[in-house]
Subunit: 207 residues, 2 copies
Amino acid sequence: MAGKRLVTPRKEPSQRRSRELVDIILKATARVLLKDGYEGCTTNRVAEAAGVSIGSVYQYFPNKESLVVRVMERHQEKLRAVLSEHLLTLQNATLQQAVKTLVRAMLDVHRVEPKLHRVLMEQVPRIGALKALHAQHAAYEPLVVAWIESHRDQLDVPDAKMATWLLIAAVDGVLQRVFLDRPSSLDEEQLATELERLIVSYLRGVT
Amino acid sequence: MAGKRLVTPRKEPSQRRSRELVDIILKATARVLLKDGYEGCTTNRVAEAAGVSIGSVYQYFPNKESLVVRVMERHQEKLRAVLSEHLLTLQNATLQQAVKTLVRAMLDVHRVEPKLHRVLMEQVPRIGALKALHAQHAAYEPLVVAWIESHRDQLDVPDAKMATWLLIAAVDGVLQRVFLDRPSSLDEEQLATELERLIVSYLRGVT
DNA sequence: CCGCGACGCGAGTATTTGCTCACGTTCAGC
DNA sequence: GCTGAACGTGAGCAAATACTCGCGTCGCGG
């Protein structure tokens, strides 16, 4: 009988006023997350920050978790938009060019509302939405695999799937760290160059 | 006047019985973390799991956070022990050998109580202890930097510090991911080999 | 203009949480 | 064995939290 926790809205807003309300609530949630972190992000505080009654919040969100999940989803939609835009340009590019645009793309992705991104990555305990994030990453994998396989002659990669997984994990790990510690001494341009070197070296292989 | 939150014990256990008590409490905390996650890890539940009065918990721990912090610290002491042991062997090793032992070392590190490790990494919101972890990583950086610089003739690295930072971030990111998703299809031996390839390629450079 | 459903409100509730404190128990030194 | 300090207990408190519900308001089809 222990039903799962709902994260879907309990009522779909139909009139314009209510759709705006939902937007206001979500923006307030993001603000509270930034200001007070996840632990301090209570439903009452969100309602207050939104200038909205707590009852109104529960009209469209079944519980606290669903609020944060929706904020994450919205954020990731933006990220995906940015990434997709870049990915279009790498159809017929050289190895160097392709890697370059990919690295810049991922750096760009992390520049979308970096503070919110940081809080979401850093503080939000792993709620369901994180699986969605990994699933999204996984969605891009076949693209990269295909690209690698179509350039096999220039590369030295025994297992395209493995290489893809490894590269995505590595690059993502690096970016994660850059935007968590933000070592100010770190020049972003240099970082990009080195990341490119890392990827190209690995793909080209050595004897 | 808003004092910082204490994480140091409010009273040092002096007799043997009480020292054992502290140990029991910390082990119970770890168990509860595993079973109920961070959110579900309440002081009352920890006391119950330890078969100990809630009052006894507060005799040695000033608040809930300090419990988790101590668990993290203990865990990391173990990790550091494992890593240090491995690092001793790479004084005068070839590039290939050194990288190999390093990769194995880091894989080994993640095998110490992996379930606890996962919960700590995944669920524990970033409390003070995480900074300690990064500081610890940073502590090993100079070692690697020195090693790189002493092997400069065999390598192609413009900036040793940058390269070190990047490699540690990348490898750590990969391992993080391995032990979070645990894609069972992933052969650990193959992963180690590929990680070595990644590192060696980057350090050797390509034209 | 009317009526009804969607909308918005916020005081209030039930529960949970971290934590205290007054009191009983064990231990070490004499 | 006696004594005082260290230890251990758990009922219970103050505060916070997620969430409800009855009521007033708005807006759209007719």
